[in-house]
Structure formats: C-alpha cells, structure tokens
C-alpha cells in the first residue's frame, strides 16, 4: 500500500461542552477519491475545517507525508497544497475567471497582463479537462462552470489535496456526472480528493473509499466496493429505527381536486417553459413529477400556486377556476406551496419562528384582531409546532435564518399544512436535507395525504418519487411526456422519458 498523504489521528474538537469530533482517524492516499458520509451535524465539516487550518483540534495529530505537522492557519494549509471548495462559492461575479484566480496568487504582478493571465489559466484548465473560458466573466457562467473555476483556483495554486463540500448539491444530474468525471481524472493524475456528502448512491458510485461519521465519531470505514446501502444506512443513522416511509396503498378517492388543462407558462426569460400540460390530482393522492431540474417544473408549480402568469390553459381547484386569480385567492381557496428555495421564497430569515409561521395567515381571526397581532396566540402556536413537528430551534424568538436547513423546512411545511389545504404543491421538499430530516418531511406529507389533501410532489430523486407517489408524471423540456401509475412504472422507463424519448 502507498504511503498516505494525510493521516489524521485521534482528532478531537470540542466547542464548549459540545463534542464535534471525537478520536477521529482518517487517512488519505494519493490518487483516491475519499468520501466523508454522514448526516448534517455529524462532524464532517468540523473535521475538514481542522484539516484546512480554520479550527485547531483540542487533541490529536496530523501527519503530512509521514511527518507530524500542526496546521495553524488556512494560509498554511494552502501552502501545503490543501484546498477546499465550499458549498457557497467564493467567487466575485464581475471579475473574469483569470482575475478570480489571480486574486489569490501571492506572486500576482503589480501590473496585470490579462493575456498572460488568461493563457496560464486556459493551460491549467486544459490540463485537467475543466473546460472553462478564462476570459469569461464569472456571472456569465453556469453553476457547474463556477464550481470548476473554484477547482481551478485550487489547482493553479498547486493543491494536491482537494476537499469539496457537498459538490453535487448545487448541480443538475448531468452536471454532477461531469463533475465526478473531472474529479476522477484528477485522482488518476495522483491528486487526492475528499468529498463531503450525504448521498449514499452518489458516494458508492464515485468514491474509492468511504468514511462514515456519526455524532462526531468514525462509525465505519470501507472500500467503496464493499459498501452496500444497508451497511451505509446502518452506519449513518445508527441503531435508530430507520423505516423508509413507503406508501403502502393508494388511499385516494375519485374526487378531483386539481385539474390542469392545456397549461402554457413562460419562464423569466420570456420563453415558453411549460407547453400544453394537462393532468389531474385526486383527493388524498400524491402526484409525483419526475424530471431533470430546469425542464419546466419550477414554472409549472409557480403557475399552479398563482405566482406566475398562465399564458394558455386553465387551473381549477375543487371545481373553481383559479387561472387568473391572485396569490391571496389561491391561498384562500386552499392551495399551499412549498417553494424550491425555502430561504428566499418560503421564509424570511431575519424574522423569528412565530412571525414566519403566520406569514400567510396573519389576517385570520386566529392571529389578529382589527389589524393588531395576537402575540400570545402566535407564541403558543409556535410552541405547539415545535413539539408536534420536532423542530429544533434556539427558541421561538430567534431568527429562522439561524436554524438548520431541515428545521427550516419542517417549519415551512408545518405552516403550509396548518392552513388546511386541499392542494399542497411541494417543490423539492427534501433537497439538501439529511436522512433524518427527509424522513420527517416525508412523514408529514404522508399524514397530509391520509387526511385527503391532494399533493403535487416535484423531485429529481427517482427514489423519492417511487417511494412517495401514487402516480408519476415525467417532464422534459416543458412537456408532460407521460403519466404512469407507480405500479406500472420502472426506473428505466422514467429515465428514458426524462431524457425526452417517447414511449
């Protein structure tokens, strides 16, 4: 076996009384893609922050090429060739790709020579097959390209150890495939790659070795070849009983709640994004929409929630035509909406939980009287949500922006289902959430459907669709390719439809 580039031994990191990492061992070999798997809060990011010099461990040692080192600052980590791509990119949009890279170069010349800089970056991006135009401004690039710029930033500074935090979270399925190809090429050229992830499938397919963290400790380390979903699941969630919420039987009635007829909707650029789409959802039914993100799902859900103008066609809920009514009317008629971007569209991050909870219901008798809010009722209701939906928060009066993604989503869903909707439109409700939170969200959705609510569930994870939906509609390029019963559908058919093939 080759000598490891990095060996972390018995790393312990405490924040006050909270133990974030406890006796963690991790070795990283040249040429491997090593995945760190675990739920949110399992200590993955803390461990990587120790490795990149942002945190100093309370105890434990780090060996670099066999020699003991102490990494005191991010700069020192960079000098050692350790670089990290954060989940939120640290790029400067108006600057060109080359400028973004050279901003961090200590030997950047006093007078900039754009041509020289661009040629150097182009050469670097060609060498690693990253395919980015060095003269382009960053704001013109897609998210996938921006991620590659972050990678170039590290490579150009000579990084040998690349750490990527949830690299696929912001990418479309195709972009993710491309990214892993790039990472594989870098590993083949002798570099070491660590990816932080909580997606088991992705990790099994793309990593060489997998280390599972749970509660700050290493739960299991294995070769990817030896990994099974079972083994990973047990390591990630531990002894806690994990029963995937599978829809047992079709509970829905024949009563039609949502009827969409020949819908055509435009996107923000004014182009047709939804083309002549028709479908119905019955009371108590979960209707899944499968498709690669960006094929009209966003526009379709927004149109149904009343947020986007419908160019052609008709939307009726419980027999009432809502096509050209206001958002308020949609809410009053029982349409609830969980938007795909919970923080910018669903919640107000700087407001507290109680305020966010009544965003749609502040006018109701329950929460206000003659325009004055009933604070006491609000606080009581918020407290009851915390208990009922197991929301973890520093208190009902702390800003929701400080809550974790899973808890924000629980709060959002709690608000939406408590309006007693007859139709719930859920757009990527578990995107970016860990297993525990996903489970909780799915449970709430299933409870809702048992109450007779019609649910429109948009997801790019086929597993989720198959697990939850009664019927599945597949969207590609704005068209509803087909609507299938779950029993008669299989992954292959859906996959073909998603890529635009007709049945």
């Amino acid at each position: 076996m080759k000598e490891p580039v990095i060996e972390m031994r018995n790393i312990t990191k405490r924040f006050g009384d909270v133990i974030a990492n406890e006796n963690v061992n991790l070795s990283l070999y040249p040429g491997e893609i090593h995945a760190l798997l675990g739920e949110n809060g399992a200590g993955k990011s803390t461990l990587m922050n120790v490795l990149t010099g942002i945190y100093r461990p309370n105890s434990g040692e780090i060996y670099y090429h066999g020699k003991k080192v102490s990494i005191r600052s991010p700069k020192q980590a960079v000098d050692m060739g350790i670089g990290m791509v954060h989940q939120h990119f640290r790029l400067i949009p108006p600057l060109s790709v080359a400028e973004n890279v050279f901003l961090y170069m200590p030997d950047c010349k006093k007078i900039l020579r754009q041509k020289e800089m661009e040629e150097a970056i182009d050469a670097c991006s060609r060498e690693f097959h990253l395919d980015v135009d060095a003269s382009a401004k960053v704001w013109q690039l897609s998210v996938g390209e921006q991620q590659r710029v972050e990678i170039i930033k590290l490579l150009y500074r000579g990084a040998d150890i690349l750490i990527l935090d949830e690299p696929s979270a912001v990418l479309t399925a195709q972009e993710a495939v491309e990214m892993f190809k790039v990472l594989r090429k870098m590993a083949d050229s002798g570099k070491s790659v660590i990816i932080i992830s909580h997606k088991m499938n992705e990790v099994m397919q793309n990593a060489d070795r997998i280390t599972v963290l749970k509660g700050g400790r290493v739960e299991d380390t294995m070769e990817a070849a030896d990994a099974t979903i079972d083994r990973l699941t047990r390591a990630v969630v531990g002894d806690r009983e994990f029963v995937p919420q599978v829809r047992q039987n079709r509970t829905f009635t024949e009563e039609i709640v949502l009827q969409a007829e020949g819908l055509s909707v435009k996107n923000d650029k004014g182009l047709e994004a939804v083309r002549n789409v028709s479908f119905t959802i019955h009371a108590g039914e979960i209707f899944g929409i499968a498709g690669v993100a960006g094929n009209g799902q966003k526009e379709l859900t927004e149109a149904i929630a009343g947020l986007r103008k419908i160019q052609k066609g008709k939307v009726t809920v419980n027999g009432e035509d809502l096509t050209s009514l206001s958002v308020r009317k949609h809410i009053d008629k029982g349409v609830s909406f969980i938007p795909e971007d919970r923080l910018s569209m669903g919640l107000v991050p700087s407001l507290d939980m109680a305020d966010n909870m009544i965003l749609k219901h502040f006018g109701s008798e329950k929460f206000s009287r003659r325009g004055i809010l009933k604070k006491k009722v609000m606080d009581e209701t918020a407290a009851s949500y915390i208990e009922r939906y197991d929301i973890k928060t520093a208190g009902i009066h702390s800003p929701v922006g400080l809550m974790s993604g899973g808890n924000q989503q629980k709060l959002l869903i709690a608000r939406e289902v408590n309006g007693n909707p007859s139709l719930l439109v859920a757009s990527y409700p578990v995107r970016g959430l860990d297993i525990g939170a996903t489970e909780a969200i799915h449970k709430i959705l299933l409870e809702e459907s048992a109450k007779g609510t019609a649910i429109l569930l948009v997801s790019e994870e086929l597993d989720e669709i198959f697990q939850m939906a009664d019927r599945i509609g597949v969207m590609c390029d704005g068209n509803m390719m087909a609507v299938l019963d779950r029993e008669s559908a299989d992954y292959e058919t859906i996959g073909k439809l998603m890529s635009g093939e007709q049945l």
């Binding site: 991010p74 700069k75 640290r90 790029l91 400067i92 949009p93 108006p94 600057l95 400028e99 050279f102 901003l103 961090y104 950047c108 010349k109 006093k110 007078i111 900039l112 401004k137 704001w139």
Partner: protein, 308 residues
C-alpha cells in the same frame, strides 16, 4: 463659432468641478462604502480653502488645507462606517448636514470678502494655438489639467493593476479578500479618505477656480450631481467623464441660451442640470435592461469578520 467654443470650454470647467467628487466617490463605493455626504464635504472643502486664501494669500497652503479637511471628514466617516459598522446612509446624511451647517458657520466672516487669489487660467504654449481645440482644452486652470492625468491614471489603476483588482474585489466580496490575507479595514479606510479628499477638491474648484468668492451653500447641488454620476457611469471613471461633460454641456448651454431666448424664464435654464440628473438617475438605476448590474455587491454592507 465663438459661442460653441465658449459653451464647450465652460462645459469642461463645470465637468471637472464634479469629476473630482465623482471619481473620489467611485473609489469609495468600489471599496464598498457609500458616502451620501458628498455635498456637505464639498462645501467644507470650498469654505476651508477660501478662508485660508483670504487669510494667508497662499494658494498652495489653501489647497493643502482643502485636502486636510477632506481627510479629516474621511477619517471620521471611515471610523463610523468601517470600524463601528454604522449604517452608511445615516452617517452619510450626518456628514451632509454637518458639513453644510459647519461650512455656513465658518464662512460667516469671509462671506462677501474678496480673496483675489485663485487657480488662474494658464494657457499652454503652442497647444493653445490649435484652432478650436486649443481654446477649449488648453486655456484652462491647473485643476483642469490635473484632471486630464487623473482620469487615465484612475482607469489604469482600477483595471490594470493588482491593487485595482483588489479594489474591485473589495466592493464585491470582502470576505474573499480577507481569507486571502488582506487587510480589509486598512483598504477601506484608505479609499474612503482618498474619496473624501477628492470630494473636498471639488469644493476648491468652486471657490478657488471657477469663481472666487464664498456664499453659503454655493455648490448648489453639484455634490448630488457627482453622486448620481457615479451610479450613472457604472462605477467607471471613463463613463463618469462622459457623463460629467454631458452635464457641463447642458448647464452651459442653458446659461448661454438665456441670452438668445429672453422670453423664457431663466429658472428653466438653471434647472436643466437637475432635471438631467433625475433623468440620468432613472436611466442608470431603473430595471430597463435585464443585465448584470454594475453596483458593487457589498456596497453599504459593513464588513464583520464574525458574521462570515
């Protein structure tokens, strides 16, 4: 022909008097600090320079006092907005009212007093002989000539040097620069002070060059025009120059047209630059073109290491 030369030559004089403030504010805003107090600091520069001129009859010393006045205001403003992370709009308004009030108070003794000391027109030999171009560009005062150098220099600095690259990044994402080991606070102090010093020089243009007297509030909204020009020019000194020349042209056209159109109330002509400001501001900031806005992303956002 003489009329055209007189209008264009006047346009340059007018333009330069707002460009010092405009380019200074551009540096400040590129660094992420918006200074709404331009008009007030301009008045302070104008009065401080004029008082020194009246009392010492020393032009170089007067100019130095102008720069020091701007620097002092810059230090205070930087302390408030960078160190204390106070709201930039509120602090800018404080600078504005404080500067306007204090300049009126300090200037009481020199109101109506003639200094007989200013930046005189210095025709440049040979160049001034060129027909049309000569009288327009090369029969000006020193502050105008200096601006001929400052514009290309600031363009080169912002777009072609390493420090300019840092400056552009500073107003967009200070955290990125901080993680690269640069001192955000020192940089912001430097650019705010530079900006305020240049704004004060704009004031000196008014009392020590274009005219040679003091009366309270005599900048008459030029500070606001400079402020509007910064956004209008997308934080680019070259576009700012073109914008300032356009304003200068409109302003001088107005004062010259008065002579030829005696029937029209003079207020209409005096109002022209301000009407142009409003139109320019709407055009610059309105959402007409769905393109990436040039406004520095971190403008008006105090940098706090703790909340990264």
């Amino acid at each position: 022909m003489n009329l055209i030369i007189s209008i264009l030559s006047g346009a340059i004089v007018y333009a330069v008097s707002v460009m010092y403030a405009g380019i200074g504010e551009t540096f400040s805003e590129r660094a992420g600090i918006m200074n709404l107090g331009v008009e007030g600091i301009m008045l302070m520069g104008a009065v401080a320079g004029y008082i020194t001129a009246v009392n010492t009859q020393n032009l170089a010393l007067s100019f130095l006092v102008v720069l020091l006045t701007g620097t002092a205001f810059g230090l205070v403003f930087a302390f408030l907005t960078v160190t204390l992370q106070a709201d930039q709009t509120v602090c800018g308004m404080a600078m504005l009212t404080f500067g306007t009030g204090l300049s009126g108070f300090l200037g009481k003794d020199v109101t109506g007093v003639a200094a007989n000391l200013k930046f005189q027109t210095m025709p440049i030999p040979l160049l001034k002989e060129i027909p049309v171009i000569g009288p327009i560009f090369f029969q000006q005062n020193l502050l105008v000539y200096a601006m001929y150098v400052i514009v290309p220099l600031s363009l080169f600095y912002i777009y072609r040097t390493k420090y300019g690259l840092y400056l552009r990044a500073l107003g967009e994402n200070p955290a990125a620069l901080d993680s690269a080991g640069m001192n955000i606070f020192a940089m912001r102090y430097a650019y705010v002070i530079l900006g305020c010093a240049m704004i004060a020089v704009s004031g000196a243009c008014v009392t020590l060059a274009n005219t040679n007297f003091w009366s309270p509030g005599m900048t008459a909204g030029k500070g606001w025009i400079a402020f509007a020009l910064v956004a209008f020019s997308s934080w680019n000194p070259l576009k700012l120059t073109l914008g300032a020349l356009l304003f200068g042209f409109i302003s001088c056209l107005g004062s010259n047209l008065q002579i030829y159109l005696p029937g029209v109330p003079t207020e209409i002509f005096s109002a022209m630059p301000y009407i142009a400001t409003i139109i320019a501001f709407i055009l610059a900031t309105g959402n007409f073109r769905k393109v990436h806005t040039a406004q520095p992303a971190a403008l008006c956002k105090p940098y706090d290491r703790e909340s990264r």
